[in-house]
């Protein structure tokens, strides 16, 4: 990933979701020091054991597709802030990717053809532009793409 030229920047859609800027971005989760459960995004407490000692961890960028669906209509705004309109909306895939740290994260997918999505397929993290802000800077979000594509 290379940053754009000096006039326009790339910002994450939400600070703290993933490392940015980075040549090897990773999602930021949290791990409970007491019971070991992992959550994403990073939480301040543990929903599993109710413990309050958690630490941030960087999540692996590769996992397997646990389940998925295709969003076929433009979500209502608010809260959706995509740059598309109901007329030029392109369906997007989304699903849960199971990561080696012991967590399944919900994510947009780069593939929107149901015939090309298979349960258990290898996926890898990408950071992609979601939209531009009013100054032309890119707001970036995370997604998973099939490995090998």
């Amino acid at each position: 990933m290379t940053a754009k030229g000096p006039q326009k920047k790339q910002f994450p859609i939400q600070e703290g979701l993933f490392t940015w800027p980075s040549d090897h971005p990773q999602l930021i989760g949290s791990k409970c020091k007491k019971c070991g459960e992992v959550a994403f995004p990073a939480q301040k407490g543990c929903p599993a054991c109710t413990g309050a000692e958690v630490e941030n961890i960087l999540l692996s960028t590769r996992g397997t597709l646990w389940t998925w669906t295709i969003q076929a209509f433009r979500p209502p705004s608010p809260p959706y802030t995509g740059p598309d309109t109901p007329d030029n909306f392109v369906p997007y895939g989304l699903g849960y990717v199971e990561l080696p740290e012991g967590v399944r994260v919900e994510s947009r997918l780069t593939e929107n053809n149901p015939a090309k999505l298979k349960f258990g397929m290898e996926m890898e993290l990408v950071i992609e532009k979601f939209k531009e802000d009013k100054d032309g800077n890119e707001l970036m979000t995370f997604a998973f793409k099939p490995v090998g594509k």
Binding site: P78, P79, Y96, R104, E106
Partner: protein, 383 residues
């Protein structure tokens, strides 16, 4: 709580169609008056009330229409499980001995289109909704997609559930959708969240139901056909169950609140799923009806395919499910749906379901409602 039945002695409904010129609350008042007339009581005799509505306003303000009698009137909101949890309030109130005669009212009138969720009110960052992850049908699409893969449920079976519910709805004068959509219309309708198409998912709607309830020992004073609420169990999700609006999931499998509420309801009633003659199951979308058949214990995971293909969940089948057309035909007015399930079971147990009356004798019914972010209420009803 076990063994302390309460009785439903009056039921009332405002039709579940798109009606202009009447607010959700006004529909609630209509349902309340009909339920009281059915029970042969008047508002001044009602000792307590529970009211549920998401978008219809504060139910306790209905007293301005019904009468300012000074009674305790509690408002309830638990997303799509609102009706069920409102009834749970009445169940525990009567069982506590505090009061003997009360009313439960559920109503709603939602705008058209998908429910827009404000995730920031549920503890999730705004990025989640902004990037298009906060759409309820996505969860249902993902859950049924995995379930079909794991347990061999076919798309054909899902479409047939929709066909059944619309067909039943066409025989229900209080349903919203009164035309039985064809298999082709359903299977070819607009894709919403794969694999769910438009006519496989409920729409937000409007309507109202009211139930007059009393302690079981008083029931025969009011009616010759009391329906006993033998069990009412209300549960919420535990860590690890797969629920809507979850940016991440752990790997461990935990049964959802429906599983726990159903089990608790059967234990309270002292019966098993095999004793149920007729059921109302949450059909937010047709896959939910299928999955809930197993989550409640009414069948094993995977058995739904054979049962539905053989027509066993039809009105004339071994286990009729959603004989009034369910949420698919009635629409989803969040405050009322859980109570609509009970309304239909009461009609069936009374023998008053008209064209929809199941031909076999029915003594015991079951209802299950589910709402975000992981709430379920289950009841056992008996003659």
């Amino acid at each position: 709580m076990a063994g302390r039945d309460i009785a439903i002695i009056g039921i009332g409904i405002h039709p579940f169609g798109r009606v202009e010129g009447q607010t959700g609350m006004e529909q609630g008042v209509v349902a309340a008056r009909r339920a009281m007339a059915d029970a042969g009581v008047t508002w001044d005799k009602i000792q307590f009330a529970f009211g549920g509505s998401l978008d219809g306003g504060s139910p306790d303000t209905m007293v301005r229409f019904l009468g300012l009698t000074g009674i305790p009137f509690t408002n309830v909101v638990n997303a799509c499980a609102t009706g069920g949890s409102a009834l749970f309030g009445a169940y525990t109130t009567i069982n506590s001995g505090a009061w003997d005669l009360g009313i439960v009212i559920g109503f709603d009138k939602h705008p058209r289109g998908a429910f827009a969720v404000d995730v920031t009110r549920q503890g999730i960052g705004s990025w989640y909704g902004e990037t298009g992850l906060a759409i309820n049908p996505q969860f249902f699409g993902m859950k049924i997609n995995k379930y079909m893969h794991d347990y061999g449920i076919s798309l054909d079976t899902l479409v047939k559930v929709a066909v059944k519910n619309f067909k039943n709805g066409a025989m229900n004068p209080n349903a919203w959708r009164k035309r039985a959509l064809t298999y082709e219309e359903i299977a070819n309708s607009q894709m919403v969240c794969y694999p769910l198409r438009q006519y496989m998912i409920c729409s937000p709607g409007q309507g109202a139901i009211a139930l007059v309830v009393c302690s079981a020992k008083e029931a025969r004073k009011y009616t010759t056909k009391p329906i006993y609420l033998r069990a009412d169990a209300f549960r919420t999700r535990r860590f690890g169950s797969f629920e809507v609006l979850s940016p991440s999931q752990p790997l461990r499998f935990t049964p959802g609140p429906t599983v726990e509420a159903a089990k608790a309801a059967f234990e309270m009633a002292g019966i098993g799923p095999e004793d149920i003659d007729i059921a109302q199951l949450q059909d937010t979308e047709v896959g939910a009806e299928v999955m809930h058949m197993a989550e409640t214990g009414l069948c094993k995971h995977g058995e739904q395919e054979a049962l539905i293909q053989a027509g066993e969940t039809e009105i004339n089948g071994k286990l009729p499910v959603n004989t009034d057309g369910g949420i698919m035909a009635s629409g989803e007015p969040v405050g009322a749906s859980g109570l609509r399930q009970i309304y239909e079971i009461c009609l069936q147990l009374r023998g008053d379901a008209g064209q929809r009356q199941v031909p076999k004798p029915v003594k015991t019914g079951f209802t299950q409602v589910y709402g975000a972010p992981g709430v379920s209420c289950c009841t056992v009803l008996a003659k």
